[in-house]
């Protein structure tokens, strides 16, 4: 079963690469006529640009080639992970990404850890007392939080904690306190969702006949939670959170752009803005494959918790 799932993820990864390749190829085809000139200007400065530089850029991009052969060559490069060089900085795409990946992973990791500290514990308590005051309060809070898009959460935190109270810097990178606002922005949204998912899973497990039977056997609530509750909410939790990780990846894009955090997302937005096709390709592929990898890990974790056969996620 695990091997099959692995095979499926491999095919999925391949298809993701094809999708990214196709979309970026279209993006390249849609570049306006003077794109080569504009990109060359971006790279060398308007004073230095000349016909030769523009022609070199055009050749590099394959703007003069066309049709299926160009697309095939394009995909071939992609599958060999040969993205070429950034059209804007002129440095190899792989090198740029390696720089940014560290910053993004740091932000994502801290946010995820923070959200897991807040969300699931609250969800477990609310789920065990479904319908109680904490449960209802959490429902309202989580509904309100989920109506606040991540960029808006960022804006609210900047306005309150940075502009109004002056406690934290709004943007920047390097000092530890630069991390707090973007991480909090991401973590609050994720916590709202993981609390909700945990709450539903816990309430579902607690209402099952096997949970009632555990009580009838004479076990206390604490013993039930420890021996039967946590393990049984593990599967839906891991499966749901695996899907929700795409939120984290998306959140990283928006939040980095807002707070000027020099990671993959920041780079992606800049690359789109500057029509830096190789960079778009590299970052998009990394984000897509990252998601597939996280899903594969989720499958594995769910299988370790619950070794029974087929499950519907």
């Amino acid at each position: 079963m695990t091997l099959r799932a692995l095979g499926y993820r491999m095919v999925q990864a391949l298809l993701v690469a094809l999708l990214v390749g196709g979309l970026t190829f279209l993006m390249m085809q849609a570049l306006p006529g003077d794109a080569a000139f504009r990109i060359a200007a971006g790279r060398y400065g308007y004073d230095m640009v000349n016909a030769a530089a523009a022609a070199q850029v055009r050749a590099e991009l394959g703007l003069d080639g066309s049709g299926w052969s160009a697309f095939a060559a394009w995909l071939g490069d992609l599958l060999r992970l040969d993205f070429g060089t950034s059209l804007i900085s002129g440095r190899p795409v792989m090198e740029e990404i390696r720089h940014q990946l560290g910053a993004s992973l740091q932000l994502a990791g801290v946010s995820l850890a923070l959200s897991l500290l807040i969300g699931p514990p609250l969800g477990v308590i609310a789920g065990l007392h479904a319908g109680g005051w904490l449960d209802r309060g959490l429902l309202v809070l989580s509904a309100a939080l989920r109506a606040v898009p991540q960029f808006l959460m960022g804006l609210i935190l900047i306005v309150t904690l940075s502009i109004q109270l002056g406690w934290l810097p709004a943007a920047g990178h390097g000092r530890a306190d630069h991390l707090i606002l973007p991480a909090l922005t991401l973590a609050l949204g994720l916590a709202a969702i993981s609390a909700r998912v945990t709450r539903d899973a816990m309430a579902g497990v607690a209402a099952r006949p096997d949970y009632a039977f555990g009580r009838w056997k004479g076990l206390s609530e604490r013993q039930m939670l420890r021996r039967h509750g946590l393990r049984n909410i593990g599967v839906p939790l891991v499966t749901f959170l695996g899907l929700q990780l795409v939120l984290l990846i998306e959140g990283v894009v928006v939040v980095e752009a807002i707070f000027g955090w020099p990671g993959i997302g920041h780079a992606l937005v800049h690359a789109i803005f500057g029509r830096d096709v190789p960079m778009v390709q590299g970052t998009a592929l990394l984000l897509g494959l990252g998601f597939v990898l996280l899903n594969a890990l989720t499958d594995l974790a769910a299988h370790l918790i619950d070794p029974r056969g087929a499950r519907t996620p």
Binding site: P209, D210, F213, W216, Q223
Partner: protein
């Protein structure tokens, strides 16, 4: 004979509505007590009130005494310290009541360790001993999904009692199990009373009540209508309801007179093989069904009996052999009745709308609906309701009405009464069989209840193990 548990004037209410009238029970060591009743009779609610497991929203009143201590059913939380220690509760459908992710042995040993307070190594040894005694020595490391229904039942029995409980409460212990397992279950439960423990069983199953013997209480509409020693009550029932219940048991039905069936074959199969999931379940089966002919197929669950019926209707592919239908009969004259009546109707429209759809589709005579309603003793008002608002027995008769509109020559009834109570089952079966005889419809009934089939069928085919069939 010492008194283990007594309940005085225990009643159950939902708001101001009384679901169980004040009732008193006494459970003695070594003498089983059985509460017998149909779905919705309040038998489970009464038992739940006595052990403090009522669902929230229901309130109970009265007085319960266990091991010299007095409890108030109005405060269910006070019962909790009895659970596992004094009272072992065997849940309905135990395969759903074991933790699906934990091996069976661990679910037993935690009772010994956490409830009785044994050190873990002794608890594990005690659990292994319990399981070995129940014939599960080799199954302790398996998860519930790797156990058969009967094995899960025994594992749950061990788990329920691991905390040291001497009183066993068994709620519908035969529900969802094949009739063949009934003897195993009564033996399992009786072993406890033989050792001086207490046993309170809640069931709708007359045969189980008879096997358990001891005292019997019959419940109808939230009231105890009859009580006494089981043997006496079942042999000489005093209350009308108890009499009707006993008469509705297929074992008590009269034997059919042998009949000659005549007429051209409506459906025949030769050398039929049926497979499911790549496994051949039935092979080399021959069937010849004539007008008004009733064939029964019985066997344990998973033997392929329902798949056989579907294969005859062409709903699943054949693994081998041929099925021949009478020439000149429209395809819609080969019909099926389903085990779960509500799922066989569109849930979003009224029954009248469903029938009107059918009439319009085949340009039938609408007037026949009224006559069929009379024939099947159904109220015309039911046509205004949706499937979820009609009882199972009425809905199954409505399903019969629906197929009768198409003048079927063949009807496959797939466990048509297994979800119905005894009295309803008798009524639906009687109507179905009469209609088949009157209209000359060939009928194939699939059921796990061999008693029922032998009383109504011209021929019964018993399927034992997959791939092993013999005609009776």
């Amino acid at each position: 004979m010492s008194l283990l548990l007594s309940a005085e004037n225990v009643s159950v209410h939902a708001g101001s509505e009384c679901l169980v009238q004040p009732a008193s029970l006494a459970l003695h060591a070594g003498r089983p007590l059985t509460i017998l009743g149909e779905t919705g009779s309040g038998k489970s609610l009464l038992a739940q009130a006595i052990i403090g497991t009522l669902p929230s929203g229901l309130t109970a009143a009265g007085r319960v005494q266990v091991a010299g201590q007095v409890f108030d059913p109005g405060r269910p939380s006070t019962f909790r310290r009895l659970w596992g220690r004094q009272i072992g509760i065997l849940p309905q459908e135990p395969w759903l009541s074991l933790d699906p992710l934990m091996p069976a042995a661990a679910q037993v040993s935690e009772g010994h360790a956490l409830v009785r307070g044994l050190p873990w190594d002794q608890a594990r040894a005690a659990a292994a001993g319990d399981l070995a005694q129940l014939g599960l020595a080799q199954a302790g490391h398996r998860r519930p999904d790797q156990l058969s229904g009967g094995m899960a039942q025994r594992a749950a029995f061990a788990a329920a009692r691991a905390g040291g409980a001497r009183i066993v409460i068994a709620d519908e212990p035969t529900k969802g199990l094949d009739a063949g397992r009934r003897n195993d279950i009564s033996a399992l439960l009786l072993a406890e009373t033989a050792a001086g423990g207490g046993l309170l069983t809640i069931t709708h199953d007359l045969a189980l009540a008879r096997a358990l013997s001891g005292d019997l209480v019959v419940v109808l509409n939230g009231r105890i209508v009859e009580r006494g020693p089981a043997a006496q009550v079942l042999a000489d029932p005093q209350h009308d309801y108890t009499r009707a219940l006993i008469a509705a048991d297929p074992a008590a039905w009269p034997h059919p007179r042998p009949r000659q069936v005549a007429g051209a074959t409506v459906l025949s199969a030769s050398g039929l093989s049926v497979a499911r999931g790549g496994r051949v379940l039935i092979s080399g089966m021959d069937i010849d069904l004539r007008p008004g002919h009733i064939i029964g197929i019985s066997g344990p669950s998973g033997c392929g009996k329902s798949t056989l019926g579907d294969a005859l209707l062409g709903l699943v592919p054949l693994a081998g052999g041929t099925v021949t239908r009478a020439p000149g009969c429209a395809a819609v004259r080969f019909q099926k009745l389903y085990q779960d009546p509500p799922s066989a109707f569109p849930g979003s429209v009224t029954l009248g709308r469903s029938l009107a759809d059918l009439v319009a589709r085949h340009r039938l005579d609408k007037g026949r609906i009224g006559a069929l309603l009379d024939r099947l003793r159904l109220s015309p008002q039911l046509l205004q309701r949706r499937p979820s608002e009609v009882s199972g027995g009425e809905l199954q008769r409505m399903a019969l009405l629906r197929v009768l509109l198409l003048d079927p020559v063949f009807l496959f009834a797939d466990e048509p009464t297994s979800r119905l109570d005894l009295i309803t089952q008798a009524q639906v079966t009687r109507l179905m069989v009469d209609v088949a005889r009157d209209t000359g419809m060939g009928l194939l009934i699939v059921s796990h209840d061999t008693d029922l089939l032998t009383k109504v069928c011209d021929r019964v085919i018993r399927l034992d193990d997959p791939a092993q069939t013999r005609a009776a």
